[in-house]
């Protein structure tokens, strides 16, 4: 790219991270000895050298205005020599070297309306996606549900009273941009009605063969509808994945009457104790009920508190359910077990109960 580089820079990549590392990190890079959690949202990492780095974790809505980011920057200048970072769950971490700065910083952060916490045995921010804010595929909104659920659960962000970590994620459609499929609790937007086909325009905007091919259940076949070449959908075969819509705008899945939310539980990513697990279906459908999705928030809260009350120390949601068994989980949670819960996709047979390890 050398020649273009003169005129117009391309392929320069991101700035080198070292430019943004505070001196204490540059000095103790890779030489941290241990860490301690001082209080909710505050931890200290102690280096071999004895140096101490304090991190204050601040809850964020992830959708941030430049105004808010500038306020963060000001706080960083005031208390952290200008250094801060964001986490893989989109929280902000202020990096301090002076312990005396911790409390004043927390005070100002809270004044901005941001909570401090999310460390250790707590609920951290909800990894989520775009929803109605920006995506065409959304079966539900993302930010609105996240805000409503966290308003209910914020105490668990601000304290460390839970048995272990609890990770909640939300994705507004089956594409699962939030990678929610391995979360303690996953909130997933779903469609429930086969595509409404725009027969008049399909031919012009999509390749009919691609559209048919896009369907994993072969529910789509070419057809001529009122004179125009188009496709038809065998409705019994449709499981609303929206892959056809992703490849063809004329296959609209979004539908206010039938779109909604499903709840999944028991996934994890870490290798701690138990190997990583996928989340499993707990509640097949809850309605889209803006602005606060009361059905969703109470369902999530119910599950969180059930786990909080009954799990052993360190036991993640999925580990707990595995120990007590799914039948007991459904009973305790008061969730009706339905046909929808039983897998009927590719590996369904392996999810059946293939033993007499039963409890009564």
């Amino acid at each position: 790219m050398a020649e273009t580089a003169q005129a117009r820079k391309t392929d320069i990549g991101p700035p080198h991270y070292e430019k943004f590392l505070p001196p204490i990190i540059k000095k103790n890079y890779g030489k941290w000895r241990y860490h301690e959690v001082i209080k909710p949202g505050v931890m200290v990492h102690v280096a071999e050298s004895g140096d101490k780095l304090y991190s204050v974790r601040v809850g964020s809505p992830r959708l941030l205005s430049i105004q808010k980011i500038r306020m963060y920057a000001d706080l960083a200048d005031k208390y952290c020599d200008g250094y801060l970072r964001f986490t893989s769950r989109h929280n902000v971490e202020f990096l301090l070297t002076k312990p005396e700065n911790i409390e004043p910083l927390i005070k100002e952060v809270k004044a901005l309306g941001h909570p401090v916490g999310g460390i250790q045995n707590s609920i951290s921010s909800i990894v989520h996606t775009q929803g109605w804010i920006h995506c065409h595929s959304a079966a539900t909104d993302a930010s609105g549900i996240v805000k409503s659920v966290m308003d209910e659960l914020i105490d668990y962000f601000e304290n460390m009273k839970l048995p272990g970590k609890l990770r909640i994620a939300l994705a507004c459609c089956l594409n699962m941009c939030g990678a929610v499929h391995c979360s303690d609790i996953a909130i997933l937007g779903i469609h429930r009605r086969p595509p409404k086909i725009d027969h008049d325009n399909l031919k012009n905007i999509c390749e009919i063969p691609n559209v048919s091919a896009s369907c994993p259940t072969a529910a789509i076949r070419p057809a001529t509808v009122n004179g125009k070449p188009s496709v038809e959908v065998i409705e019994e075969r449709c499981m609303f994945c929206a892959n056809c819509y992703t490849v063809c705008p004329a296959m609209k899945l979004n539908d206010p009457l039938n779109d909604g939310v499903s709840i999944w539980v028991g996934g994890k990513v870490s290798n701690a104790r138990h190997e990583p697990m996928f989340s499993k279906l707990a509640i097949p459908f809850l309605p889209n009920n803006p602005p606060r999705w009361p059905e969703v928030t109470s369902a999530v809260k119910n599950i969180v508190e059930l786990w909080a009350k009954n799990a052993k120390k360190y036991e993640r949601m999925g580990e707990w359910i595995e120990r007590i068994g799914w039948p007991r989980f459904f009973r305790m949670a008061g969730i009706e077990f339905r046909k929808e819960h039983i897998d009927d996709f590719k590996h369904a047979g392996l999810t059946f109960k293939r033993s007499t390890h039963l409890t009564f």
Partner: protein
Amino acid sequence: MADNHYKTPKLDELEKGRWPSFVKEIKLASQKSPMATDLLGQLEQSYNERIGHWKHGGIVGVMGYGGGVIGRYSDLPDKFPHISHFHTIRINQPSGWFYTSEALRTLCNIWEKHGSGLTNMHGSTGDIIFLGTQTAELEPIFSELTQAGFDLGGSGSDVRTPSCCVGPARCEWACYDTLALTYDLTMAFQDELHRPAFPYKFKLKMSGCPNDCVASIARADLSVIGIWRDSIQVDKEAVKEYAAKGMDIRSEVVDNCPAKCMDWDGKELHIDNSYCRRCMHCINVMPKALRPGKDRGAALLLGSKAPIIEGALLSSVIVPFIKIEPPYTEIKELLAKIWEIWSEEGKNRERVGEFIQRVGMGNFLEAIGVEPIPEMVAHPRENPYVFYEEYFEEDESEEEK
């Protein structure tokens, strides 16, 4: 238009409550940006109608790049003209998401000039997300970003913006330098990142240890997860201290060991490291007393992804242990081989994990020149449908297919 001129009773509800409100953020932005204002208006309508109002994205971008911009158009352009275009720009974050206040302000200033003033810090893949601008603004934004030392991230069928955990920058458990590897690979693959040429997207995520703080095993085509080969480092005194401070080492540590390879006699902690599964639990619980071993590196796992279309996958082990040292030649050569065969034989929109399942792991390994080893499987096959590849002809000579 300093103020929001739409009535948004539903959204206003979401300004209440203790969790920070995205609505407040949009309103903050709308003090300066009519785009943000129109976004509020359209979103309120979505809340009323329970449906989004965005059209299927079109192809927009900056010169010479195939990715980095997500085109987005309102389906109510007349009603909300300022968001008739509302494209997203993905900007490659610095490794580990470290910033100076300076850097943040620079980004904010660019975005104030050319866009809605709304961002995601960060996107799920890890990019800085500039949320909403016009097609005409793309080139100016791009040149200002590059002047400031930033570049676009990935989108479409390319290498997606790699991301990593905080690692050695702040974590005592990092088994390799996640930030350095992430930066190096990102630079090495600029072309693959900016010019989609694969069957589908390819994501890389680096975690420094099996706690996997970037969830790489669930959402990266290549998951690089730190691990150690030798024995857990034990500080016996510190163990006693935890016990003294009231930790029930049997029930909290020993009984939770998935390998059942620990023992605690009340005085000393014994670990049979040859059975240890490197799960991290005991270390997590006693960070002052236990640490990963000294012979550190990473395990390479392949193939995780979300459900679309063959079902969600977790990454699986392809290399159980590899030393992670610059210039990371082995990893790059492995990736090159993987990309070569996947690009040749992968179907359109087939992720590498799906590809491996379709062609068979055994065949895939052969193609990339990696020896099969038992560490790659949870267990050997249970079905007898083996594709034996050679057979004898009557003349007794071995036949190759």
